[in-house]
Assembly symmetry: C2
Homo-oligomer: 234 residues x 2
């Protein structure tokens, strides 16, 4: 039990806080989600988001970073606080409020696959989400809608791209996020006019002999549009 | 102390959760914020947002509704969860995580003035925010940026309007939210083309002899754009 300094705080009944992480990645042109088997009772063995109680000596954000690091071995992952879930009966194990975070990671990174396997975690396509414990499904749904909202008005899908990429690859990521086809010509036109992309003097020839031009991001425009927002009409 | 059902939860150190409310209103064509004097130690007497601990028998959202009701006497207020603030040392009184909500209320409503006075609360212009306790200033700044973000892509400023209003009044509210002048002609053109407004066969003659046409919202378009978003280019 922590020592509360203020006597006026002493009569308040404490509760537990947990962090749950919705980890998105794009694999095989699909938006996927990392889930794993819950280790603690109640509901041990059921499918779950990755979560942990917030320790008394760490901030809520540090808890989220710790969880992401433990699972993926990665630091400095793109992470957004989603929502605090505070229903009285949301967890049969006790009065626990949960702060959910969503993050985007590139699935193909070094060591990630190894770490994911060690934790027996799995990438699940977001159109085939199985039953999850507690209110985790609700969290996932809100995270998807939050991700889509961000992707409409901010250059967010780019967190999922390698440093150099083709317009076709970027389109596929956006299609995976929104879960429907996007008009190719319109997409290319808007992206090329946005100033977000810098064309590189080389081609990716892995998918066709003619090849596709590679691009990288214009960091300045990227940061500007991150702040100011835009609408590509997706 | 609450009884935790799950033995695996028992070793976790509990903490306190509080809700803080950022209440916005428009008064004298300015975006304002309700603040009041903190009643509990530590820092009693300092200026603060309205907040309260989350009770063990209420959800986090219910706590926010309770606080808003106690202060304003109003129910069904527009309310958005802003963020969970979870730094370890944010409250010198103990380990308290705070879930902040922002809400929009119409300042001119019945009984509101009376309730606000009873609580010795004050409407403060957002460009003259005094020193606030703990991390409340940070909360206010995030809430303002969140409100502006919403107002750019969703029909949100309308929560502040009476049922019938002129375009000039709506413009003033938007200018108050963004804190800068908005081009009048452009604003009228975009709003009239949006399908959001239904012209009424009457005029408001309080500000000029010629009068200004009154409008009300098209609820159907309003709900549609609330879901889909738009960009008016504010």
């Amino acid at each position: 039990m922590t020592k509360y300094l203020s006597p006026q705080y002493e009569d308040v009944k404490p509760l537990l806080a947990a962090v749950d992480c919705i980890i998105f990645g794009v694999q095989d042109n699909k938006l996927k989600l990392l889930i794993f088997k819950r280790e603690v009772e109640p509901l041990a063995g059921c499918l779950s988001l990755l979560g942990s109680f917030v320790k008394i000596e760490e901030s809520v954000e540090e808890a989220a970073e710790r969880i992401l690091f433990e699972l993926t071995g990665l630091k400095d992952i793109y992470m957004e606080q989603l929502h605090c879930y505070g229903a009285v009966d949301r967890d049969p194990g006790g009065r626990v409020i949960a702060i959910a975070y969503w993050s985007l990671i590139r699935v193909d990174q070094n060591h990630l696959e190894f770490n994911v396997r060690t934790h027996e975690a799995k990438w699940i396509s977001i159109d085939r989400i199985p039953e999850l414990v507690l209110d985790h499904r609700q969290m996932v749904e809100m995270a998807i809608s939050n991700l889509r909202e961000k992707a409409r008005f901010r250059p967010i899908g780019f967190e999922l791209m390698p440093e150099e990429f083709t317009l076709g690859q970027l389109l596929k990521v956006y299609e995976a996020i929104f879960g429907h086809p996007i008009d190719d010509r319109n997409f290319r036109k808007k992206l090329l006019n946005s100033g977000l992309l810098i064309p590189l003097p080389k081609k990716d020839k892995s998918t066709s002999r003619k090849g596709s031009f590679l691009f990288k991001f214009n960091q300045e425009t990227y940061q500007k549009l991150l702040l100011e927002g835009y609408s590509f009409g997706f």
